[in-house]
């Protein structure tokens, strides 16, 4: 059974089915959406269980089938360690997003469900496509439902936010399209033999000079999506205006498409350029970490606070990717998942309180832990996970990233660590102002605590927080070999071109055998052997 095609296109089929349900039957529509997401999620779990963590190649490959012969476009899907977790994360968060909208979305439910399902197909397609053209189609196709989600069900400035989101993303991706075209044209001098198949393109030896330009074309598209400082300005607008479900997907999955793009395309196809751009991107990532944290600190609106915290968190992921060491890259992938879970959860919880009070201003709350104890507990746990307390998922990701970065560049690691402190400041301060202190606002006195539906939605996220926090090997084991393979793709070519200072190459992938033992061996010892 071509399981990947099923996973990718099942939501689309669900959207098609939804077309035939009358728009007055809101419940039937929501259940259809939920059902298809749940089945999709079950399929991805099956995929995960059968995924062979020791292999480094693409697994469960569908295709390559010829799609557009005259353009050399193939339809081919596959997963490896880099994408497998993102593939599970997508339907997982989609379920939560649809469930979160159960009461919040009352108008145009049909359109909402269809958008959510198409969006899901788009995102899954992005993570599984192993053809550049196919990837681009999914990459752009998921823009449209997201645009509708923000623009139709969003807040007061929804149109501005939606259009800004589309234009920013398109700006980057159009240049990437030219990059894809150039790579396609390079695959063969014969027009008939050209292809956009990713594996063929990965084997291309792109001249270093050209690599720089193509890297920039791809990196811009991904950097806007991540968003890397200074391309982040669309993000707060989109997040603040998007409905809760949209924010969950946007923060949880969509941003990961950017970091995933770096891992999947920039690193292996343009290794020389990657090494050359390490300082620039690392510095931008560090600016993002500190800038995001500082701006988050002064936000009045909880949602925009969480949005700016995303800028900081994704800065960490970028730092990890461009540290180009085993641990840092593994940590970056884990952090992508962690950020999806914690930030998704934060937006979910913020959405719950917004449904009750119709405000998100921090100053409108205060002391609500007295009336909403369960909510406060949940929120605190997620907050702690977000700032990376040991025992939660956030710790695993950030620790690995910093560890890996420490090996490649101590300065970056030190500045990055400072960012964690800042994160603790703004998150905990926000929690303090919202939940503790005196319950002085009249409107807050009658707030109801979470109902059963809300508890059930939040619970899976909490489970994941502790699962990854306490036993990350379930996941890390599946991704490590692919990470090593990716790094060797970057590094092996380095031997031929000698672009990079020998000091830096020393750190890269040196400790490949020790990677899987991060949490079983003594940490301190292991750090010292690395140096």
């Amino acid at each position: 059974m071509p399981i990947l095609s099923w996973i990718v296109f099942l939501p689309l089929f669900g959207a098609f089915i939804s077309l035939f349900i009358r728009r007055t039957q809101a419940d039937a529509l929501k259940w259809t959406g939920l059902l298809f997401s749940v089945v999709d999620f079950i399929l991805t779990v099956i995929l995960f269980v059968h995924f062979d963590g020791s292999r480094i190649d693409m697994q469960f490959r569908d295709g390559p089938f010829v799609w557009i012969r005259s353009l050399g476009v193939t339809f081919s899907l596959g997963v490896d360690g880099i994408s497998i977790l993102l593939v599970i994360l997508t339907p997982f968060l989609s379920i939560i997003a649809i469930a979160s909208a159960w009461n919040a979305i009352r108008e145009k439910v049909k359109g909402f469900v269809i958008c959510m399902l198409i969006l899901q197909t788009g995102m899954l397609g992005v993570f599984t496509a192993t053809d550049l053209f196919l990837f681009y189609v999914f990459w752009e196709a998921m823009l449209i439902p997201m645009y509708f989600l923000i623009g139709i069900w969003g807040g007061p400035r929804k149109i501005y936010a939606a259009v800004k989101f589309v234009l920013f993303t398109m700006f980057g991706s159009l240049l990437m399209l030219l990059g894809i075209l150039k790579l396609y044209l390079m695959t063969s001098p014969e027009p008939g033999n050209r292809t956009t198949d990713l594996l063929t393109i990965m084997n291309l030896r792109v001249p270093p000079e050209l690599q720089t330009w193509l890297f920039l074309a791809f990196a811009l598209a991904f950097a806007i999506k991540v968003p890397l400082f200074p391309f982040h300005t669309w993000l707060p607008d989109a997040h603040v205006e998007a409905p809760t479900a949209g924010s969950i997907i946007l923060a949880g999955v969509l941003l990961k498409m950017g970091t995933y793009g770096f891992l999947r395309f920039c690193l292996p196809i343009f290794p020389d350029a990657t090494l050359a751009f390490v300082p620039l991107i690392s510095i931008l990532a560090l600016i993002g970490i500190t800038y995001g944290a500082m701006v988050a600190m002064v936000q009045k609106d909880v949602k925009s606070l969480v949005a700016y915290s995303s800028v900081a968190h994704l800065g960490f992921v970028m730092l990890g990717i461009f540290a180009l060491t085993d641990q840092a890259l593994t940590g970056a992938i884990m952090q992508m998942i962690n950020h999806g879970i914690t930030t998704g959860a934060l937006f979910l919880l913020v959405g719950m309180i917004y449904e009750r009070r119709h405000t998100r201003l921090i100053s409108d709350f205060g002391g609500i832990a007295h009336v909403m104890p369960v909510f406060a507990t949940f929120f605190l746990i997620i907050t702690l996970a977000s700032i990376g307390l040991p025992g939660t998922n956030g710790f695993v990701g950030e620790f690995l990233i910093l560890l890996g970065t420490f090996k490649s560049n101590i300065t970056y690691a030190v500045i990055g660590t400072a960012g964690i402190v800042l994160a603790a400041v703004y998150m905990l301060w926000m929690v303090q102002r919202i939940f503790y202190g005196e319950l002085d606002k009249f409107e807050n006195k009658s707030l109801l605590d979470l109902g059963p539906r809300e508890k059930i939605i939040t619970l899976p996220l909490l489970i994941m927080v502790f699962w990854i926090g306490l036993y990350p090997r379930t996941f890390i084991d599946k991704i490590e070999p692919s990470v090593r393979q990716l790094l060797s793709q970057v590094r092996d070519r380095d031997h031929h071109t000698q672009l990079v200072h020998p000091d830096r190459t020393r750190g890269i992938g040196k400790d490949r055998c020790q990677g899987s033992g991060i949490f079983s061996e003594g940490e301190i010892e292991w750090v010292s052997t690395g140096e």
Partner: protein, 483 residues
């Protein structure tokens, strides 16, 4: 070769239909719309069938003035499709809004005949004849709604400027004759390739005049000034018709003439084309942003699209030609599709023409709303639509020929265009529903047009192989008449 009727059989079918329509109009006591629609449909389908049937029957005929090759074949398909869609979009509209149904269809068919002549001529004089046969009915059609002052103004403007541009074309042809001693494209091509006995100055000047004359019809900046007023003033189905076929016909002539000089055309001349391409798309896109009237917006957008096709002309060679003609096909279906929905939304007497008037239409008319969304996204070049595939091919041709900066300017223009196309979608779905109640009369034929265009847009976007192959075939044989 004598009289090989097969190579012009589609043209004959179209012209015959025009005559039949004229005669029927004469004998029918009361003009019946269904009769005209049926005759028109039958005529265009026969023409389409003949085009396909004779697609492999290549040849030059009638003393080397008409050529049936793959390029001509492709363009004939574009024209037939454009006319077919126009008939569907017109049917209800004409019966409702206009007097003189018979002449309306007759003129459309004569114009289509003119386009076909333009696309299949192997002689500059025939190109000119085709252009005039196409243009004169269009001047009339632009002003066919005599009761509306804007319509009359449009016709007048179009006629005056059009006549002027025809003069340019004719002058260019005269100069070319001076340079090469022949108006036959075959002769000109041969003499150019041999490289003797022609005057460089006369040849370049002639080409520039021809470029101006045809550029007017193709709506290239700075020859585009008539476009917004004429598009806004004409009745909507005619605007749709004008935006697709005549533009494609002008490009057909441009491609045919310029591909004669293709491999060795001088750098200076390519610079002119380069500037025209950049100017056309940028100017069109930037002005389109400011438009409130949707027909005017699409007028400027059609200028921008001409700019994209110009990229293909600059890129040149077989890749450029095949990209250009594929793009024109894609543009024809998506643009007429968009106009079909606009005609539907405009209501009786074309009252709703502003983008803002569409507030809430997305939920009020779900099917038409989705269709217009797809057309807008396709015009903007979002993947899985015809517009994207066309742009992909054009930018590929540009990158392949080394015009990377042109491609970058092209994609940035594409980005600008997203802004205003998305504006229509914003109005339909995101603005609060307006108070005014304007009845939008439903029309079956219009919906047929919408569905054909929608199907074609998605088909060309998702499974374009067949049409890409034909375009590539046309591109690979673009110099076939010279051999």
């Amino acid at each position: 070769m004598g009289f090989d009727w097969r190579i012009i059989s589609p043209e004959i079918a179209v012209l015959a239909t025009a005559i039949v329509l004229l005669v029927v109009d004469l004998f029918l006591k009361k003009a019946r719309n269904t009769v005209f629609t049926s005759i028109s449909l039958a005529g265009i389908l026969i023409a389409m069938f003949l085009t396909f049937a004779n697609s492999r029957h290549l040849g030059v005929g009638f003393s080397n003035i008409v050529v049936n090759d793959y390029v001509g074949f492709y363009f004939k398909i574009i024209f037939c499709l454009g006319t077919l869609l126009t008939i569907f979009t017109s049917s209800t509209y004409v019966a409702r809004e206009l007097r003189g149904i018979g002449e309306y269809y007759t003129l459309i068919f004569i114009a289509t005949f003119g386009m076909m002549v333009m696309a299949t001529s192997a002689d500059l004089i025939t190109i000119f004849l085709g252009l005039e046969v196409m243009s004169i009915p269009l001047y009339v059609l632009a002003g066919i709604n005599r009761d509306r002052p804007r319509s009359r103004e449009a016709a007048m403007k179009y006629f005056l400027l059009g006549a002027f541009s025809s003069g340019f074309l004719l002058y260019g042809i005269a100069l070319m004759f001076g340079a090469y001693g022949s108006t036959s494209l075959i002769e000109i091509g041969r003499r150019f390739q041999v490289g003797v006995n022609y005057s460089q100055v006369l040849s370049s000047a002639g080409l520039i005049f021809i470029l101006i004359g045809l550029g007017f019809k193709a709506a290239l900046t700075p020859f585009h000034l008539w476009v917004p007023d004429v598009y806004e003033g004409s009745v909507a189905p005619i605007t749709a018709f004008m935006s697709a076929g005549p533009k494609a016909a002008a490009f057909a002539a441009l491609f045919r003439i310029f591909s004669l000089f293709s491999p060795v055309i001088s750098d200076n001349f390519n610079t002119i084309l380069w500037i025209l391409a950049v100017g056309t798309m940028t100017w069109g896109n930037i002005l389109a942003i400011a438009q409130k009237n949707i027909k005017r917006m699409l007028a400027y957008s059609s200028i921008a699209h001409a700019g994209y096709v110009m990229i293909a002309l600059v890129a040149g060679g077989d890749a450029g030609l095949s990209a250009g003609i594929f793009y024109l096909l894609a543009y024809t279906v998506m643009n007429i599709g968009a106009f079909a929905v606009i005609i539907l939304f405009a209501g009786r007497g074309e009252k709703l023409e502003n983008i803002k008037d569409y507030a809430g239409f997305g939920t009020k008319y779900p099917l038409a709303g989705i269709a217009l969304t797809v057309f807008m996204l396709s015009l903007a070049g979002i993947p899985s639509t015809a517009g994207f595939m066309g742009k992909y091919k054009i930018f590929m041709a540009a990158v392949n020929s080394g015009y990377v900066w042109l491609a970058i300017i092209g994609v940035m223009n594409s980005l600008i265009s997203v802004w205003y196309y998305i504006g229509v979608v914003v109005a339909m779905y995101m603005l609060p529903e307006s108070e005014q109640k304007v009845e939008v009369p439903f029309s079956t034929t219009l919906m047929v047009a919408v569905f054909i265009a929608l199907f074609a847009t998605l088909h060309l976007g998702l499974f374009p192989d067949r049409w890409l192959d034909l375009a590539n075939l046309a591109g690979a044989n673009f110099n076939w008449i010279l051999q």
